[in-house]
């Protein structure tokens, strides 16, 4: 029977959606019973106390966690988030309750064998509570004591060939969409690029040398299934620069009704017979599609690769063959100056191992940011402060109309002296000969 009464939390056990309360309760019981006779390295009742503390927060309408303080593993600047409870007497099991960020595998694919190993480790040395996964992408080990941090790290690296993820003013754990592994729209191998960048930049990930956090995310196409454009300082989004491949027979299949629009993703309602004009041609943002008799035509030069038509008719339309990715820079959450989406930095770049070209861009961006960025200034904030022009200059990318949604509407151009005929040094007395005071 439970250590603490949790009348409020108990109300979260009903209802269809999986209840984290029920789950935590079953773990609490399991630890109490301890059928496997595990030599728990942190208090056996850690989960009971976690539930008790959370219940208290539900009563008080406020958190009971304090600031972290500097805890971590030797030589790493990140991977651990320190946490202490503000009621240690009442809830000694969670007096320390640090989280560890475990760098997830690409595409978040697992073997059960590996998952079980992680569970064994975490039952022994931690609370047994996790997040699968954290918002950035890591496996989150939620709650252990300081003295276990090194032990866990040692086992991870020695037994499981597994490293920690990022936190602090580091490169954060990169994340990818499932992409080529199971998606027909991947314009490059997101898992491979993500893996290579993670490994090539281990030093940046583990040892804080940056003004603030820095995030990479890898989306295989503009659908952005890992939301890179909204939450990574550098977003790598797949695209192509040749033509959408059309299977005219399949087009007829959709028109005829044999094939379900959007792969059947709208099955919950009768939207009526598929109308290619209404559902595809008219919704194309560039108006670059039309029917020529029974033939669907696309003026690919005008297509901006928004994916809509392909999303609607996956069997008829396929991404082009000349593939690569666009790099966007500066996305971040609102604090402090307001949220930013990534701004287009590289319209198109090939994505082939060993990705030297891409790394060249990354490193030039870092050089600038590390040089100019203030403490706790994200790349996007520096871009706002010094301008996209500046970023293009330092990365040696030729400014192009594609970099802007629209040209500036203010004429306040900061001309450089070398751009102005005759330079800036003038003799006022010479001027005064023609213009009296």
């Amino acid at each position: 029977m439970a250590k603490h009464k949790t009348p409020l939390l108990d109300q979260l056990e009903s209802g269809p959606w999986p209840s984290f309360v029920s789950d935590m309760k079953q773990l609490a019981e399991e630890r109490a019973k301890n059928p496997q006779k595990i030599e728990f390295q942190i208090p056996v009742d850690v989960v009971d106390d976690l539930l008790g503390l959370l219940e208290l927060s539900y009563k008080d309408g406020a958190t009971h966690w304090k600031h972290g303080g500097i805890v971590g593993v030797f030589g790493y600047g990140g991977g651990v988030i320190g946490r202490y409870c503000d009621q240690p007497e009442q809830f000694s099991g969670v007096a320390h309750f640090h989280t560890m960020r475990i760098n997830q595998p690409g595409g978040k694919f697992y073997t059960t064998d590996y998952l079980r190993k992680l569970c064994d480790l975490w039952d022994l040395r931690g609370s047994g509570v996790t997040n699968m996964h954290g918002s950035t992408g890591d496996i989150i080990f939620l709650g252990t004591r300081t003295e276990q941090l090194e032990e866990i790290f040692f086992e991870l690296t020695h037994k499981y060939n597994q490293d920690l993820g990022g936190s602090g003013s580091n490169l954060r754990t990169p994340a990818d969409c499932i992409g080529a592994a199971r998606c027909e729209w991947a314009c490059y191998d997101t898992q491979d690029l993500c893996y290579q960048m993670t490994n090539d930049y281990q030093d940046e990930l583990h040892r804080p040398a940056f003004p603030y956090k820095f995030k990479f995310k890898f989306d295989g196409c503009p659908n952005c299934c890992v939301a890179s454009i909204a939450r990574s300082d550098l977003s790598f989004i797949g695209t192509w620069r040749d033509d959408i491949r059309i299977d005219q027979e399949a087009v007829q299949g959709y028109i005829g009704g044999e094939l379900k629009p959007n792969a059947g993703g709208h099955s919950g309602r009768d939207w009526g017979k598929f109308d290619i004009h209404k559902e595809v041609i008219k919704l194309c943002p560039t108006e670059c599609m039309w029917m020529e008799g029974k033939k669907l035509m696309i003026d690919n030069k005008e297509c901006n690769r928004c994916m809509h038509c392909i999303n609607v008719m996956p069997r008829a339309l396929h991404i082009g063959n000349d593939r690569g990715l666009s790099i966007l820079a500066g996305a971040k959450a609102p604090i402090l100056d307001g949220a930013q989406m990534g701004s287009l930095l590289v319209p198109f770049i090939k994505a082939e191992a060993p990705y030297e070209e891409i790394k060249d861009v990354i490193e030039k961006v870092w050089d600038w940011w590390m040089e100019e960025g203030k403490n706790r200034e994200r790349l996007g904030e520096l871009m706002k402060r010094q301008g996209l022009q500046k970023l293009l200059e330092v990365t040696g990318i030729t400014p192009d109309a594609r970099h802007v949604k629209e040209p500036r509407s203010n004429p306040y151009i900061f001309w450089k002296e070398e751009e102005v005929e005759g330079g800036w040094t003038r003799d006022v007395n010479e001027f005064r000969k023609h213009h009296q005071r």
Binding site: L12, S14, G15, P18, F20, D23, Q26, L27, Q41, S57, K59, D60, G61, A62, T63, W65, H67, F74, G75, R83, N103, P105, K108, F109, T111, T112, Y114, L115, C119, T130, M132, H133, S135, L142, E151, E155, D163, G165, A175, C177, I178, A180, A181, E184, D192, Y195, Q202, H206, P222, C224, I229, N262, A263, G264, G268, M307, P314, A333, I335, A339
Partner: protein, 381 residues
């Protein structure tokens, strides 16, 4: 209990230390049919909500069953996932970018037994362990954050409101009746770890009371200059305060300039903001991430404040339900919530969702606010 060493020696931390090895390589964990057909997929199709298959050039098919997950999971639950994956999926499983779990099989015949098995499992409290759904034009899992379970700055809980909201939206997790995908996210403070700034509907924890000043300890617990520098509105100034007869260094806050961001608290534990009545939830709407048809959009604040009503946040869930129903009723096929609001005009959005428009929703934060005001005579009565 007895201490068990991993082999790590505190006296010699560097002794055969291994570092910088990164994550496990993705392909170690691919199921065989994924490894074989990677990069050669042709198309996909939904069989029913939560179940879809992909067809490869080789003719191979992979059938995926997606189940909802409370991303706050225990090892007990993970072990059960493993058990299922062993039984049906040759010991392979994956998680999605929105914290759902995907079970994959290579044969259509294996789908029904898998689904039946998944749907049959329930927690003691009665909730599903593995509800199948979350695909297509419906509502999938809520991306969220820590809240009261682990963080020190939240203005609301995360897992609780998420559970309460998903219970209310559950039908749309199991069904694809909406005009398009509708993404719900939650972040428990405006750091927005859940990246709620671009979701169709966002639940955001927000403080409304300026920090309390623990003068007696402030100078001891904090670097005063850092606290002052942390404030985006320059509301904090150094101050000398009289405590028990003696002057101590502390800070003063100009409450009227405070926007309750909590940056000072992040820098200085002696400036707590949390408050039962002050803290609560902001509802945002109309954001999106994909580049489909229209460019990505930020979410907009549509309800300035709702109280923290633990354990089930009824006003929050009711408001969200209202928005979803209004959208389901009025939007066009393929139209995201934000695209709908922009087409009909935000004045209509509030009408159709039966939400009051209050002065709080008018941007007054810095210069760009101007661009959100209405610079045209085009509006609807």
């Amino acid at each position: 209990m007895a201490f068990i060493s991993s082999g790590y020696d505190p006296k010699e931390p560097m002794k055969n230390r291994i570092t910088d090895i990164g994550p496990r390589k993705y392909d170690e964990f691919y199921p065989p049919f994924i490894a074989k057909n990677k990069g050669k997929w042709l198309y996909h199709e939904y069989m029913k909500p939560g179940v879809f298959f992909h067809v490869a050039e080789s003719g191979d098919k992979v059938f995926t069953v997606r189940v909802g997950g409370a991303r706050l999971m225990t090892t007990v639950h993970i072990r059960e996932i493993c058990e299922i994956a062993d039984k049906h999926c040759g010991g392979h499983v994956r998680f999605t970018t929105r914290n759902n779990v995907e079970f994959m099989v290579d044969d259509e015949k294996k789908v029904d037994p898998l689904v039946k098995d998944l749907e049959s499992r329930k927690f003691a409290g009665g909730s599903f362990k593995f509800p199948v759904g979350g695909t297509g034009a419906g509502i999938t899992n809520i991306v969220h954050t820590q809240g009261w379970i682990h963080c020190h700055t939240p203005a609301t809980d995360a897992s609780g409101p998420v559970k309460a909201t998903m219970d209310v939206l559950f039908d749309d997790f199991k069904n694809s009746r909406l005009p398009a995908k509708l993404r719900v996210s939650l972040a428990c403070c405006l750091n927005m770890c859940g990246a709620v700034h671009c979701s169709d509907i966002a639940i955001l924890g927000y403080h409304r009371k300026p920090p309390m000043l623990d003068h007696e300890y402030l100078d001891k617990m904090c670097e005063i200059p850092l606290a002052i520098a942390a404030c985006p509105t320059a509301a904090i100034k150094p101050a000398k305060v009289e405590i028990g007869g003696q002057k101590v260094n502390s800070v003063a806050v100009n409450n009227d300039r405070c926007m309750f961001c909590g940056n000072c608290y992040t820098m200085c534990p002696a400036m707590p903001l949390a408050d039962k009545e002050g803290d609560g939830i902001v509802i945002m709407a109309g954001g999106k991430v994909s580049n489909r048809i229209s460019a990505p959009k930020f979410s907009k604040v549509v309800v300035a404040f709702l109280p923290n009503e633990a354990p089930r946040w009824p006003q929050t869930t009711a408001t969200i339900k209202k928005i979803v129903e209004a959208y389901a009723k009025a939007a066009r096929k393929y139209e995201r919530l934000g695209e709908w609001a922009e087409r009909i005009g935000w004045e209509r959005f509030f009408e159709k969702c039966e939400l009051p428009f209050t002065h709080h929703l008018i941007d007054d934060f810095r210069d760009p606010a101007y661009y959100t005001w209405r610079q045209t005579t085009q509006f609807k009565f």
